[in-house]
Subunit: 441 residues, 2 copies
């Protein structure tokens, strides 16, 4: 993509309304634009990151055997009255009357609707287990929306739902999702720590939040430092091997890790030696729940056991804040100059900087490199604007592409290009072929 | 995907509420499930088709130089009051009061919001032209929603917006989009005929609807039969060649083609010889508009001309009914037994039918074929259910995958599989390797 054609309205000044770094950088990089309080439009650069994150979430859900559906944003209030949550949600739920004065709502979550879909179609233990998910916009009418898309009113969430015959089966689904979440966040370059959590309005008695450590986080967290150094998951987990999956979960839940909601100071001190006590702040990016028959009972989602008896199905629900992750990754990965995207979610792999657009040789070299990158399937943003080098460097650092390829008259004379790694600041002068190898090994 | 694990709740009986064939078949094939009046959930099979269609739309928008953004579903009423459309839309617009009693609405279209985004960022002719699109759920509170997702209340639409300095530039954008639409529908196996159209609440003075001929369509159409036989577009159009693009548009608008709204019986008879007059029905799948400065004037979207004078930008908008296309394709492509998916949008390329699940040799052969298809990157739905062959054939015809691979004891003895092409009913007995070649040439 040529920057002269690209719609990327960067800002030079820090916007006054932005209190946290991700909000500030997303506005400055031209990733988002506020549409109304707590509601944002995603501009091309931000949209690309959102899609990258969504795709990683999707691939890991598919891999663990979860099937994608898509439920609507607008739901009837009827099911929510049956489950008893129509009143529980209070003013955070956006309530709507349609033209026939029917009570509708903008879904903040989908336990009721997916249970209704399940109940109409699945009648026997033979059809279990079932795991379904969707990635859909949700609405939560926050009284004071803030922090940009981190605490907006309209947000993109992946929510998955499991259906099993009994608690043991539900626990297997819970464990698989737990491991899938670890893999998902790991692929985004994040260390997400699973912490025992309250269940809130979803209900149930088993729940973990996945928390990224960041000093701008909304929750105080207390955990064993061993967690911060924990090993990456091996990439070849067999989800059908319930024992292996359970071992991963046991490993990651064996150490102390809690947010302030669940923190127990005495237990913390008892279980974690002083040198390993980490106290800081964190951002919630995922939350999983086992809630048993909480929804199956009132909504009458029954399945026949092998002996013919009809019993309520056991359920769990599993959320990932897809749009929130865009901000969370920035909170975890930036410096004074701007964003530092992990390769897996970067909007483009490389920024190509033409240092002297009015020099024919430089222009022709840049066009050649631009063509070669595109041919190699490497996504490139080409700064072909007639701007000072300083402004180009600043914008490229701001938007945080993993690699920068800098081409100017001096390099052309010596047959070299300059390659900069955004994360480390490391610069290399090297022949073009070697640079391309480094970008796409 | 194994059918025993897949969530595809097919129905044996025709649902009473479905009046048209696409609605009937989508319910029977387990593609959708009604959530409330005119609002549907997409189950795994339907979701796959929706995503295929969305991806074709996206690729053709990207190819013509349109950049993807994502605007929210919920908008503030303020901009709509400025443009004057808050009253125009009447009860079809879903109006919402948030917790602070602010007037919001569920966007039925996005001319106001995109103009506001543009106005904040683009100030000079040097930054033009700009072409932006998004693919987002819309809401239209139909008084009597019907025909399933063909005339639902919550629907997925691609809407694009062009910004140019003057009418001539806007016409170039209009022409490019016209050609992109032809390519888009062609890739889905559809013949969409562009017809001169009224502009309705979008406004403006130049507009075409893209109409698929289907006898269940909502519009009466009158056109030259030459259109029905028209040549496919060549695939290598250069969108930067404005003259070549205009020639394609001229070609496709040279023949008579109008819906009842714009039909002129006298002109029809004058311009089209009797033998070439086609009178039938059609389904609208796309609609493009040039509306000049209709939104730029009230919303003050001004750009500086080369001489410094600030003038309102010229705009157009361009819609494709993404979810509606799922139904439109079925209306155009089915038989008594069920859906016939064009290859490009099919949820799976091939259905693999095990005729005798309790026979070890048949099972092992099917597993081998299933593995080979997946390894070759061919998407396969494997009917491994313990069901009668008749039920399996009926379900496979119903869901309309382009190819069926039938494996039973008799074929294994002779070293052959049976390959059926859904569209033609043609059956071939041939060695497995040859069958795989036919499926993925």
């Amino acid at each position: 993509m040529r920057l002269t054609a690209y719609f990327m309205p960067t800002l030079k000044e820090n916007p006054a309304e932005a209190q946290i770094v991700s909000h500030r950088l997303m506005l400055r990089a031209g990733m988002i634009r506020q549409a109304s309080a707590g509601i944002y439009s995603w501009l091309p650069l931000g949209f690309r990151v959102l899609k990258r994150i969504e795709q990683i979430v999707r691939e890991e859900q598919d891999r663990m055997g979860c099937q994608e559906v898509l439920m609507p944003t607008i739901q009837s209030a009827d099911l929510w009255k049956k489950s008893g949550r129509y009143d529980d949600y209070g003013k955070e739920m956006l309530r709507i009357l349609d033209r026939h004065e029917r009570e509708m709502l903008y879904g903040p979550t989908n336990e009721e609707l997916i249970t209704e879909i399940f109940r109409h179609s699945v009648k026997s233990y033979r059809e279990l287990p079932k795991l379904l998910y969707h990635i859909q916009w949700k609405f939560r009418d926050e009284v004071r929306p803030r922090f940009g898309i981190m605490r907006g009113r309209e947000f993109l969430m992946k929510d998955a739902y499991s259906f099993d015959l009994d608690q043991e089966g539900a626990r297997r689904a819970y464990n698989k999702m737990f491991v899938a979440y670890q893999r998902t966040f790991q692929r985004m370059g994040l260390k997400a720590i699973p912490m025992a959590a309250d269940t809130g309005p979803i209900g149930g008695d088993l729940s973990h939040e996945f928390i990224i450590l960041a000093h701008t986080g909304e929750s105080a967290v207390f955990c064993d430092r061993d967690f911060i150094e924990f090993d990456a998951l091996s990439s070849d987990i067999d989800y059908e091997d319930a024992k292996a999956v359970a071992q991963v979960v046991d490993h990651f839940t064996s150490l102390y890790a809690r947010t302030d909601e669940k923190h127990d100071a005495a237990l913390f001190e008892e279980r974690v030696p002083e040198a390993r006590r980490y106290v800081g702040r964190g951002i919630e990016v995922g939350h999983i729940f086992y809630f048993g028959t909480k929804y199956a009972l009132p909504l009458e989602a029954l399945v026949a056991k092998p002996d013919g008896e009809a019993v309520p199905v056991h359920g769990g629900s599993y959320g990932i804040g897809v749009s929130r992750l865009v901000g969370a990754i920035i909170e975890a990965s930036h410096d004074d100059a701007g964003i530092i995207w992990p390769d897996s979610v970067a909007p483009f792999a490389v920024g190509l900087i033409n240092l002297k657009t009015n020099d024919a040789a430089t222009k022709s070299k840049c066009e050649e490199i631009y063509g070669r990158l595109r041919q190699a399937g490497i996504e490139v943003l080409y700064d072909d604007r007639d701007e000072r080098p300083g402004a180009k460097f600043a914008d490229m650092d701001l938007i945080g592409l993993p690699w920068q390829l800098v081409v100017g008259p001096r390099g052309i004379a010596s047959g070299l290009v300059e390659l900069k790694r955004r994360a480390t600041g490391e610069r290399l002068e090297l022949p073009l072929d070697r640079a391309l190898e480094k970008i796409a090994p």
